[in-house]
Symmetry: C2
Subunit: 337 residues, 2 copies
């Protein structure tokens, strides 16, 4: 039986919401390693909202995907053939890899995972970019203090649920905003959030007033749009607002209109700051030690929504914008050998 | 001849733009000082955009003006009668005073001015709240570095022109946005701005692109609205945006709609922060020493638009929103004795 190889390419830049046609599956040859190269078999890949930005050609902090070329993203893979000194067949590695069942690597940009600390998927969620995004956004910009109220939007997403739990460890009152009762129940009952609001069924203004009787000191924004409008009206003096994502806006062909609320920043001398987790790279090891210790102590839970099958990557990606995932959305491409 | 006394009261809370009827002139008795009190004769008073906020009863960083009671604001006055140990007849003082030709003070909240450093009106502009607002917003939030591009909106206003000149002292490229050719010419020819844009007659997007070939590193925002929309589309990575005022919005009965642009903060990991100058009070003396030294060295010019006559206070205030002033808008109430 000959092994099939294939990759997923960007067929054309989407305008508005991407569709299944945005993703093109192409059969390709199995790679042959030269000296100093390994063959990587993709096991798990991460689909993330920020990837929508890379589908456009607007100038941004990461280069856009190229039309007709493979997507790429964080993934876990296994070395299945090695002509590289430092990698042996069977090694499980992490890297930013093409969406390709089997690919080549010269070892640059990949690293071996220590599976004694956590299962491999954790390196795509709580011990990966997700956990680090929560960690640096919350600590460096949000700077929560015990007794303060922290509100998180996109709270049942991978970043949001991590933010909320860390804020609880800091002694804060934590309020999550999410899009279904299953999510809000999960946040309160499983993760210990003090309150959670379903923005699709509840009146946000009333619910925020009730859930945040002392106002909002930190607002960790993953979504933007009307949810953010509502929270901005409840901020306290000296509020800090890490702007992590604006998923509500990513698929708009042109900027949506919303009420101008910058006066709130003046009145409350509030700080709002965007950030990009890779800027904190030198501090990743330190942060991962913290995150891992909380995970081991059972103080930081993580959750994954795993779709099976390489062919289901597009649907898993599109599901992010339908709010289908609780926790980190991953795709399982293959079992390790 | 008996001396007339009068004060200006808030007649009713305005909805939208205040009118002449918002201001009620009332004849009142001449004050009689008790032991420990002085009588102050108002000489100059400052009218400022932020006072619009105090006309509403929305919760804010300063208590609202009370309906039926006198307005108040920064003013320079002269002691014309004294039963206070530390004040003598003739002293020129600064304070946050009622809009009242003659008033009483127990010395609390006023301070004697040293007119050997600067003329008395400077304490209502470049050496007063105006200069301090420019100083702390620019240095603490904007953090300009030599070679960076600093854009200032409301650039021909008292705060804006101070920001621009200080940024020039820092070695920055400085671009001002203002509302008339007289203003933009003044900024470039008199104050040394590198470029100035008339937002009423020029295409902001094109003009900004031309004036800021290397993008925008610091945007000192005094106005908000469409001007801010345009600048946000030109910010560089790590941009800093002190949000000082939103004069374009102060007279709106309800929030205006504008494009949602927070994604710009994420993409450029930009910082946006509101601030209130009084929060920096402990550092005022230090800042005033800097400002005064630049003024003395001729490196920091200031300009005042002075309207004569207590009866013209309302018109001077309303003129702020018609963009009539270049530099600090003051009202001269009386000559010193």
């Amino acid at each position: 039986m000959s092994i099939q190889n294939s990759e997923i390419r960007l067929s054309a830049r989407p305008i508005g919401m991407p569709t299944m046609e945005t993703f093109q599956f192409v059969d390709i040859d199995m790679p042959t390693p030269r000296d100093g190269q390994v063959v990587l078999k993709l096991l798990y890949l991460s689909v993330d909202p920020y990837m929508r930005g890379r589908m456009s050609d607007a100038k941004s902090y990461v280069a856009p995907f190229e039309v007709g070329k493979s997507f790429e993203g964080e993934a876990v893979a296994q070395v299945v053939e090695s002509r590289h000194d430092r990698y042996a067949v069977g090694d499980i590695v992490f890297g930013r890899l093409p969406w390709r069942r089997y690919g080549l690597s010269d070892g640059h940009g990949i690293r071996k995972l220590d599976l004694s600390i956590a299962p491999m998927t954790a390196y795509l969620s709580v011990l990966g970019t997700t956990g680090l995004t929560a960690y640096f956004g919350l600590f460096d910009i949000g700077q929560p203090k015990p007794g303060e109220t922290v509100v998180v939007s996109g709270a049942a997403g991978a970043v949001g649920m991590t933010v909320g739990q860390i804020a609880k460890l800091c002694g804060c009152r934590v309020v999550g905003i999410a899009g279904s009762d299953a999510k809000t129940e999960y946040l309160v009952q499983e993760l210990g959030f003090d309150a959670a609001i379903n923005y699709k069924t509840q009146n946000l203004h009333t619910a925020l007033k009730e859930a945040c009787p002392n106002g909002v000191d930190v607002y960790f924004d993953n979504v933007g749009g009307t949810v953010t409008d509502a929270v901005l009206l409840r901020i306290n003096d000296d509020a800090r607002i890490p702007v992590c994502g604006q998923i509500a806006l990513y698929n708009l062909a042109k900027p949506e209109m919303g009420p101008r609320l910058l006066s709130q920043l003046v009145v409350h001398r509030a700080l709002m700051k965007g950030f990009i987790v890779t800027d904190y790279q030198p501090r990743f090891p330190h942060a991962i030690r913290h995150l891992a210790s909380w995970v081991r102590a059972g103080q930081l839970k993580y959750k994954e929504t795993i779709v099976e099958g390489f062919e289901n990557v597009p649907d898993a990606f599109l599901g992010l914008f339908r709010g289908e995932n609780i926790g980190k959305q991953l795709v399982k491409v293959a079992d390790p050998q």
